[in-house]
Each structure stands twice: as C-alpha cells, then as structure tokens.
Amino acid sequence: MKTTANIFKRHSYREIWLRAEALLALALILEVILFTLYGRRFSTWDNWMNILRHSAEIGLLAVALTPVIWTGGIDLSVGSTLGLSAVAFGQLWRDAGMDPWLAGVASVGVGTICGAINGALIVWIRIPPLIVTLGTYSLFRGFAEALAKGVDTFTGFPEGFLWIGSGQWLGIPVQIWIFSCVALMYVTADWKTVLGRNWKAIGCSEQAAYLSGINIQKYVFSAYLMAGTVAGIAAITYSSRLGSIKADAGFGYELLAITAVGLGGVRLSGGKGSVLGATLGVLALGILNNGLGRTPLTMNYSSELGGVLTGALLIGAIALSVRRGSP
C-alpha cells in the first residue's frame, strides 16, 4: 500500500533518485576515475564518442523496455525485433529497390507491428508477457532467418545511410542524437503526462489502477507497441553502424538491455524507476566494457571480466535496493 501511495506524490521522484540512481551515478564516477587513471587514452573525446556510439542500440532498447517493466511486464523479443526489422530493411532496400530512407521508415513499421503483436497477445488473449515474448523472441528471429535464408548478408549501403551509424552532427555521433530524442520523449511522457504515472500504477497494483479508472489495456498495449517501434529504430542505427546486416543482428541485446534497466534502479517486478536511471545503467555497462579493454591489467581478459563484473554489479545493485526496502 505504501508504495502505491508514493507513486502519486510529486516528490517521490526525488526519493527514488536518492536511492538507486545516485548510487549508480557514484559507481559511474568511480569507474571513470579508475579508467582515467589506469586505462590508456580512456578520457579522450574520440573514446567517449565510441562509448556512446556502441551504447546507442542497447540504450534505445533499455529506454523502451523501462515502461514495459514499469507495468510489471517484460519484453524478451526486442533483440529479435531488431533483427527482423534490420533484415526487412535490407530486403526492401536491396531486393525491392526501395529508397533507403523509405525502407528505413518501413522497417521501423515492421518493428511497430512486432510490438503490436506482443501487446495484442498480452492484453487481449491474456497470455503472460514472459511467455508471449519468449515465443516471439524465437518467432521474430525465425522470420528474420527465413527472410535472409540463413546466410544472406546485406551490405554496400549508400554513403548517406552510413552517416547515421558513423557520421556526426555538431561533433556528436548521429545515433546519439537519435537516442537523445527517443529518451527525451520517454522522459517527457514520464514527467509531463499521465502516461508514466499510469504505467507505474499498473505495475504497483493492477487492481488498484483498474479501480482508479485507468484503461489498463490501452496503457499496457502502448508500452509494447512503442518498444517495437524503438527496436525498429535501433535496427537502423545498428545496420548503419556495422555497414552490413545478417539475420543475427541484435542477438542477445534484450538481456543486455534488461540488465542495464535493472542496474539503473528500475524495479524488475514493476512500479518503480526512471528512464534516466536506465540510461545511467547503459552508460555504466558501456564504460565498464570499454575501460576494461584499455587498462593494461585487464586488457587481455576484458570480455570475460566484463561479463563477471556486469553480473556482480547487477546482483549487488538489486541486493542493496532490497536492503534499503525498495526492491
């Protein structure tokens, strides 16, 4: 009951901020200090831009997963949606001869349809989100593999399209602008509209939310729909960054994104957390993986250590928040 009541208080954001996000921000600063001291050429402009560029897709997915998780749901299919949208883009552009920008818009549409399928199955057929999205995790990836006949590689994109993934605007990588726009939309939805409050209310207590007149179906559906759209956008930045597309695009990204969201203090059982926290979670992971790869002591074990430390950080963060009474 206590938590439900908290949701509707304006200053509850500050309380949450003081708990998870502040702790994470501290950890982040510590990471930066350590890697600046011990890493080679860590705090250079180029490297910071690399960290951001490499975090863009996980960041997009994490931000889009936040409302889904607020409602007490989960979406395991966002990585596969990314893969399917990317392959759809490749086929529309190369095989159907579509203009790359038009194909890009269409592939974001494919992502949106994927999200709508998830949402519809969850809201109207009433299958638990874990089951639905575990199913579509295989389904969407399977479609992507079938479309690409397993081994097809799409490459040789026009220079203009590659600009999204490796170019800059005002000195900042293009996909960071894209990420910032999407994140800003979600933050606005959270702070300035009823969307965020209702999403969280549903996650706290579906019954209480229903009794207070919230259209649960509408809000839950919208969260999954938007997750699909954003996964489609991530497919574009991903394809452009790599300069090639295969059916395995974005494989395993859903788990990385969920890890970042959890690390960012978003309660995985629903009802609590912030978009900003999820973004900080993404940054913490991005900095960790980058820094380990350029610190002489850890350089040759960066991938392994990255996995171990990510796991330890996540469990540590959740354990701390449980102890502080905000699991």
Binding site: T155, S166, S244, E304
Partner: protein, 323 residues
C-alpha cells in the same frame, strides 16, 4: 567526410601516447576468443611478439554478438594501437571498421579468414585450394600405395571452398595417380551423424573401398566411427581435413591414419611477423616474399602471404598439438 571526423581528434596527441608504452602495440582479433584453434594461433603470436619486441593485445568476442568484433576494432582505433590483425567473422560487417582503422593510419592485415580487399593491406592465407587438395591426394595415394578406390565425404555440394578443394584433388589424381579411382562424392551437411551414416552406406556399397577422405572437419571423426563400427579399422583407411584434438583417439586406435591442417601456431607467428614488418614499412605492395628467420621464406601472391603446405598430423606427432 563525415567518417573521417571521428578519428581526427586523436592523431594530434599521438606524441603523448608514446610515453605510455615505447613498444609498438599490435592487436590480434580472433573470431572467438576461447576457441582452441585461435588460442593456438595466439601462442604463436606471443612468441613472435616476444622476439620482435612488440606488445601484443589479444582480445575477441566471447559471446555470439555479431557487432562485437567491430566494437573491439573501434576501441583499438581510439587506443591508437600501431597495427591490427584480424580473423574476420563477418566479412562485410568488419570491413566497415577496418577501413576506419586504415583511415586513422593504422595498418591492417587479416589472417585465417579475409576481409574485403580494400579493408586491409595483406591477408595471411593459411592454405590455398591447391595446397589442401594436393596434400590430401598425395597423402591418400601414399596410404593406398598408388592404387585402389576411394570415396570423398564433403560438407555440402554447394560450398565454394570445398568444391575448389575437390577440383584440386581431382586435378592431382588425374595428373599423377591414374591407378586410383574416386568412386563416390557424398555430402554430409557438416554434421558428424550424417557423415557417419554416409560412410556406413559407402562401406556397404563398395566392399573394395580402400580409403575414405573427409574434407569437412565433422566428417573426419564421423567417417572414423563408421569404419570402427563396421570392424574395418585399418582395412579401410580414413584421412581428412580436421582438428587434431577431434581425431586424436581414432588416430591412436589406427582407424584414422592422417589428419591434415595447417600449423595454427605458425599461422599466428607469421601473422605477427607480417604485421610488424608492415608497420615498419618493410612490407609493401609488390613485395614478393617474406623471409622469417628460422622458418624460411613465405611467398606472397598479390596481397596474399602464403603459409605454405598444410601439415600432416599422424600417430607419431599428434600428441604434440593441443588444438
């Protein structure tokens, strides 16, 4: 033009980097980090790095994330390593990152599996179709004492590399071994089980078969198991292209006579030797051969540095290799 902007900031400070480490840094990127094949390449690379006074970074993907190789390369660019050597998982994808490295002035070579030609200076080619095909056929002929019948199990009838090897096998046979006949060519879809089935079928269909040659790696133990179960060990000989570790037991039992592959340690060694010379400017387009002390001379065809003839692993030497 948008591409070059990302790398320009770092080059102004390149003087500073030299303070971090006086040795040149060469970074080696395998397809996957824990794979025994690449670990063996790494040990050769480490030996070369120690001899040349080069610092070696070895890092690679541990997960199946196809974007990981690109991210590692891009991080190495901002780390300002002096040279990069890569075994490419995704030819088109990695080339984007490698071109970026070249634009930033970092020499790039590939080994094991190549990138697109404009994304690297040289490719250390571990085996040409001719090298593989001729070595397999010569070894088969030696074991069959110049006459008899053999069958080939391949991965698939559409795999370009295996078809090229098979052509070279046939070329060698028709040129040198007219008393040897190839009676069948069967695909196994790169599956050990299917290879075993195919081999069993071959054994019953051709009762006078002398040898089975498996040209994809799962088929070597697959064929050996079939021969073993048919009780024809030693009578029908088995050779093939595969990893020593997967075939060690059969080789010791006398079922499989020879396993053919390049020495992966030498591949790693030569890769670092070549990379080091490339960044010293001793290896340039048009160089015709690479001389390595203690190992001999490696010919260069175009932009391919050739490791040379594959190595034959048999009962006498197979225990010396752990990949």
């Amino acid at each position: 033009m948008a591409l070059s902007g990302g790398c320009s900031g770092g080059s102004n400070e390149s003087g500073e980097r030299k303070k971090d480490s006086e040795k040149p840094i060469i970074a080696l990127l395998p397809k996957s980090k824990g794979n025994a094949y690449f670990l063996s390449c790494k040990s050769g690379a480490e030996r070369a790095a120690a001899e040349l006074g080069v610092e070696l970074i070895y890092d690679g993907p541990v997960s199946t994330d196809p974007a990981k190789q690109n991210e590692i390369i891009e991080n190495w660019i901002t780390l300002e390593v002096d040279g990069i050597a890569v075994a490419c998982e995704n030819r088109a994808g990695i080339s984007t990152a490698l071109r970026k490295a070249q634009k930033a002035g970092i020499p790039v070579i590939t080994f094991d599996s190549d990138a697109e030609a404009d994304a690297r200076s040289f490719f250390v080619n571990q085996a040409t179709p001719e090298g593989i095909g001729y070595t397999l056929m010569d070894e088969a002929a030696r074991l069959m004492e110049g006459k008899g019948r053999f069958a080939i199990i391949t991965g698939s009838l559409t795999a370009a590399n295996m078809n090229a090897w098979q052509e070279k096998i046939e070329e060698r046979r028709s040129e040198k071994y007219s008393d040897i006949e190839m009676v069948a060519l069967r695909p196994c879809d790169d599956l050990k089980d299917k290879a075993q089935q195919e081999a069993t079928t071959l054994l019953s269909a051709y009762s006078d078969l002398d040898l089975i040659m498996a040209i994809c790696s799962p088929a070597v133990p697959g064929a050996a198991e079939a021969v073993k179960q048919a009780g024809k060990g030693g009578k029908v000989k088995v050779i093939g292209l595969g990893l020593p570790s997967e075939n060690r037991a059969y080789v010791h039992e006398g079922i499989t006579q020879s396993v053919i592959l390049w020495k992966t340690e030498d591949l790693g060694y030569l890769t670092i030797q070549a990379a080091s010379r490339l960044l010293k400017g001793e290896l340039t387009p048009g160089t015709e051969a690479l001389e390595v002390e203690g190992m001999g001379t490696f010919p260069i065809e175009g932009d391919n540095i050739l490791l040379g003839k594959p190595f034959i692993f048999n009962a006498a030497n197979i225990d010396n290799f752990d990949f």
